[in-house]
Symmetry: C2
Subunit: 207 residues, 2 copies
């Protein structure tokens, strides 16, 4: 239908998640009309994404160096570790400004249907981190307790993963917590689903 | 929030039309997870779009050569010219398989508010094409009449442009037509807006 260079870009754009034929066409024709400098910058950003990033060897966040900026930040408490499923979850938690510890990216959640068992997730690496923290602070450190916040998604898979981790990490004697489930702030009671409302009631707080 | 190479790509993707912060993030993390070959292909397609395309010198369609594939196709009637606002409109009309002539891309529609007057559109080039067709066929050609189908959008600007073209091209003695406006096929009378329904009634056909 279109000239080959246009069609090829439309095909490539259509492979992106959430981009249909129609949006891919609109994007391609948009790019055809903008300055070449703009398209070149976009293309370079795509290439740089792969060439200039790697995985943080400690927490498995995306990083431009060997360790990510969060792991390198001395102001962040290394004994508070927030365990997330995916790299992008880190940004969501960072935005709350409620957490000043480090992260650990599991790389997913337990899901037998998809063939994801404990060995597919970075649980052994998490255990190594805990072991390292416990050995390193033998008497010398301020002795702050290690806390793991399991911030996997509030789904069946995420909940299962959290419960599995809590059980598996018991021998380490660390505190394992999970963010509260409940009604979204600013939401309307009418629109809450039963399961969320049920959990909100079960986890009610004394005022 | 994100490491610089990731943030840079998110920024670039956010500049695309219809792509918000959230979608840009989702796309960037998708690209982070796919094979490097895939991202490279996408980046190359973006660069090739600019490097391997130009504008057809006859109809102003996008082309990989000096003239577009439609202008080069000898089976397409050169004396039937469909005038469209933008390059992407050609694909829409091609998909109907109802038109076997050539195209002419105006580059927009008359819009005094946006400062687009006749000299901003490729009207002079259209007149040159008509003149060329009329001189070339002096007695020699099969003598088929020249028809211009003004397929600008059925908007105020598109309608104005069509009327302007019809008046301006009158001296050439060519037939100037416009696609019918009316009810969409398969649509429901209930959902038609008054203006469309009014036009459909005004342009009613005898069965």
């Amino acid at each position: 239908m279109f000239e080959p260079p246009v069609q090829r870009l439309i095909d490539e754009l259509s492979r992106l998640p959430g981009v249909g034929r129609k949006s891919a066409q609109r994007l391609a024709f948009h790019l055809l009309n903008v300055d070449e400098a703009d398209t070149r910058r976009l293309a370079e950003a795509i290439i740089d994404l792969k060439e200039q990033t790697s995985v943080c060897k400690r927490c498995f966040n995306v990083t431009a160096g060997a360790e990510c900026s969060i792991c390198l930040d001395p102001r962040r408490e290394p004994r508070h570790i927030c365990v997330v499923e995916r790299v992008q979850d880190i940004a969501v938690i960072e935005r709350t400004r409620e957490f000043a510890g480090r992260y650990h990216v599991l790389g997913g959640a337990l899901s037998p249907i998809d063939g994801i068992g404990p060995s597919q997730l970075r649980i052994r690496e998490l255990e190594d981190r805990i072991r390292h923290l416990q050995n390193g602070s033998a008497g010398s450190q301020n002795g702050e307790a290690i806390e793991l916040i399991i911030a996997t998604n509030p789904t069946i898979e995420g909940d299962t993963t959290a419960m599995y981790l809590a059980r598996r990490l018991k021998p380490f004697g660390v505190t394992v917590t999970r963010p509260a489930s409940g009604l979204p702030v600013g939401g309307d009671m009418d629109y809450a689903d039963e399961i969320t409302l049920g959990r909100a009631l079960a986890d009610r707080r004394t005022l």
